[in-house]
Symmetry: C2
Subunit: 79 residues, 2 copies
């Protein structure tokens, strides 16, 4: 078994209304000095050792991310 | 300026319907060997160097995570 993390973030050129809402709320709540917030998704998968990196990339691209508007990274965090 | 990543995941004892939906969809789509999926959130913040770790933890706990049902981690990825 391996644990795999897939991070999915909006592409830099895509507006991110959720992140902007957080960024605007922070000064109102007394937190200064945060200049940008981007919000994305994090998936943690438990996979059999039979699942190779190519399959993981396909799962991320087909099912976890919308590659038109999102970038993703796949990494194993233990074997 | 520093870049900070806050990962927010549902606590282990909390049901995660989004993750379960992904886990159930995978075999239907021809992907075998993924035994569990948990879905959470990833925030990327740009912060001034004046923002200390205590403040970042407070931002994460108060605004980014719902600590009743979610755990979070805060880490700086460059200085």
């Amino acid at each position: 078994m391996a644990r795999v993390v897939v991070d999915v973030m909006p592409k830099p050129e895509i507006l991110d209304p959720q992140g902007q809402a957080v960024a605007k709320a922070l000064p109102r709540l007394g937190f200064q000095g945060v200049t940008e917030v981007r919000q994305g998704k994090r998936f943690e998968l438990e996979v059999d050792d039979s699942v190779d990196d190519e399959t993981l990339t396909k799962i991320a691209a087909d099912l976890l991310a919308n590659t038109v508007i999102e970038d993703f990274t796949v990494r194993r965090i233990d074997a």
